[in-house]
């Protein structure tokens, strides 16, 4: 068990950042913490890192207490904090060597530079690196001692899609080596594409937990189907399978359905009995984004726009 959290609460005076979180994370996954600003993601991650002390509850990371066994834990976790602060007058290589010296064992700085794609920038001062390069260097620092667990707080915020994909690849590679990753993110497609488990947090509570697929399946949202036939057709068999006909859009008839697989089975039957051929079929499943918006409630789309800008 990488992480075990029981009835975790964290309050700052009258503000309750976490209100009784229970969470167990098995070894070897990529877990994404998703939620609006101020939901408690950072508080949760920083409690795991030992930077914040819980108000109540039990926390164990790699079998260790982040407060009482901080020394041991720090050697085994790799951390990227939300705001990357690094000495500006050192080169990328010098910075990695500095952090390497803090650990009893560390990887050669050159290897880590290659892994995060900063080999050509090894002798560039940190102050002259771009935002994306700094983020990659921050990830490099988190990897320098060969940790068992990565805790990344918004590792890709503010990056362009290419830089983000490059970072995803580094994280996947770390995961393929059998290690665990916990990351917070604002990007739904990041959670969907990178994580095998997504935990949605809202106002200090876990409101959803599962694989991206499970979350979508569990959601209320309906799928949309666009179907085009070779001639006139009778929609009743599809309606009997739970589809709702919304009329025609060009050559396509639009249907919505909670259970689109049943509609497709009925569609096969319809084609045979009404002697028609199918000229086109398109389907749109509800996305994780629809699920997310449903979970975190009203007023969020504006924030999401902000975050993705």
């Amino acid at each position: 068990m990488t992480i075990a959290i029981e009835r975790l609460r964290k309050s700052y005076g009258a503000t309750h950042a976490l209100k009784g979180v229970d969470l167990h994370i098995a070894d070897g996954g990529v877990v994404g913490l998703l939620g609006p600003n101020g939901a408690g993601k950072t508080t949760l991650v920083e409690i795991l890192e030992g930077l914040r002390v819980p108000t109540a509850g039990r926390v164990s990371v790699l079998g260790l207490d982040p407060v009482k066994q901080a020394r041991e834990l720090k050697r085994r976790i790799g951390v990227q904090l939300q705001s990357t602060a690094m000495p500006l007058d050192l080169t990328a290589r010098e910075l990695l060597e500095l952090y390497a010296a803090f650990y009893p064992r560390a990887l050669p700085a050159g290897d880590v530079l290659r892994r995060v794609g900063l080999e050509p920038k090894r002798d560039t001062l940190v102050r002259n690196l771009s935002g994306g390069q700094k983020q990659r260097l921050a990830l490099g620092i988190a990897l320098i001692h060969g940790p068992e667990l990565l805790l990344l707080d918004e590792p890709t915020t503010g990056l362009d899609p290419v830089a983000r994909r490059a970072l995803h690849e580094v994280i996947r590679e770390f995961h393929r080596a059998g290690h665990s990753v916990i990351l917070t993110t604002h990007y739904i497609e990041e959670a969907e594409g990178l994580c095998d488990r997504v935990i949605v947090i809202r106002s200090g509570e876990i409101v959803a937990d599962g694989t991206p697929f499970e979350l979508i399946a569990r959601a209320e949202g309906a799928s949309t189907l666009w179907i085009a036939f070779s001639g006139p057709f009778d929609p009743r068999p599809l309606e009997a399978a739970g589809a709702e006909h919304h009329g025609q859009e060009g050559a396509h008839h639009r249907f919505t359905a909670r259970d689109p697989t049943a509609v497709i089975v009925a569609l096969g039957e319809l084609l045979r009995s009404q002697q028609l051929t199918l000229t086109d079929l398109r389907m749109k499943r509800p996305t994780l984004e629809d699920v997310y918006l449903e979970l975190v409630g009203e007023g969020e789309p504006a924030k999401l726009l902000e975050a993705s800008e």
């Binding site: 890192e49 976790i77 904090l81 602060a85 000495p87 050192l90 010296a101 650990y103 009893p104």
Partner: protein, 285 residues
């Protein structure tokens, strides 16, 4: 053992960064040079004999500015920008972090002093009456005693705006009460009394002993002992106040403890001064 390695790596990193930062070089080299020229040409009227008399004061002032200002600012900046927070999630200890800053400050201070010595030798034929090894030892001990004060300012200051204010506030008593700007005997009696309560008085006295009066280490052992104790006490007490993050509060009871610790040390020094062999520091009305 790994903390020693961390310390050395941090120290090396600070020096590399120092070499690349122009403003840092300006403050630690150009400023002391300016002070030297002012002391040499104005107070020493450019002649070697008079200049030698004002040099202990010059070195004392250089040591004050080199230990109370820069280091406090560097600690506060690292805390404010979150560099310390990032280091907090690694196994590096606060002691290694603090000592690396102290060692860096001591190194740059020694560079400033070395520059002053070279230029003073060239322009004013500066030489010391006592022994060079003793002189260097006094400079090192003086730096070691005053740098913890800069560390404590760095630990206590709320942000990068309050740090220089506190440093300035300390700069003037450390300078004027020590007799480094104005000779001790010219100070009014109450200021002479207060002077025994600041570490720089003991710096100035040791430097005068070696540079002007040609005394050996045994003669200045008293003030040197006060400086050594200040150094050890200062570094330990700073450990009580060190903060990794700006959000951590300054513990008021710990600050009081630190002030009490320094008060005990300097209270003792106050009463012992006459028997420390500090002939020039007997009160004269």
């Amino acid at each position: 053992m790994s903390q020693v390695r961390s310390f050395l790596a941090l120290y090396r990193g600070h020096l590399l960064a120092y070499r690349r930062a122009r403003t840092a070089i300006y403050w630690s080299l150009a400023f002391p040079l300016f002070f030297l020229l002012m002391f040499g040409f104005v107070f020493g009227r450019g002649n070697p004999e008079d200049t030698r008399f004002v040099m202990p004061g010059l070195f004392t002032i250089t040591i004050i500015s080199g230990s109370v200002f820069g280091i406090a600012m560097r600690v506060v900046t690292e805390r404010e920008t979150g560099i310390l927070r990032r280091q907090r999630v690694t196994p590096v200890s606060g002691v290694a972090v603090v000592l690396a800053h102290a060692a860096t400050a001591l190194t740059t201070l020694m560079l400033s002093l070395a520059l002053q010595l070279v230029v003073a030798r060239a322009l004013f034929k500066f030489h010391i009456v006592g022994s060079w090894p003793a002189f260097v030892l006094v400079l090192l001990l003086a730096g070691a005693a005053l740098i913890p004060i800069g560390l404590i300012v760095g630990s206590v200051a709320r942000d990068s705006r309050t740090a220089p204010a506190i440093s300035n506030f300390l700069f003037f008593p450390l300078m004027f009460l020590s007799g480094s700007a104005i000779p001790f005997v010219m100070l009014p009696l109450w200021m002479q009394r207060l002077g025994r309560l600041v570490p720089t008085t003991y710096v100035n006295e040791s430097l005068q002993g070696i540079i002007v009066r040609g005394e050996g280490l045994s003669k200045v052992a008293g003030p040197l002992a006060v400086l050594a104790l200040t150094s050890v006490l200062g570094v330990s007490l700073n450990g009580l106040l060190f903060r990794w993050e700006s959000t951590e509060p300054v513990r008021r009871e710990r600050l009081l403890l630190v002030l009490a610790g320094l008060a005990v040390l300097y209270g003792g020094a106050y009463f012992l001064t006459p028997s420390l062999g500090m002939a020039h520091y007997r009160l004269k009305g």
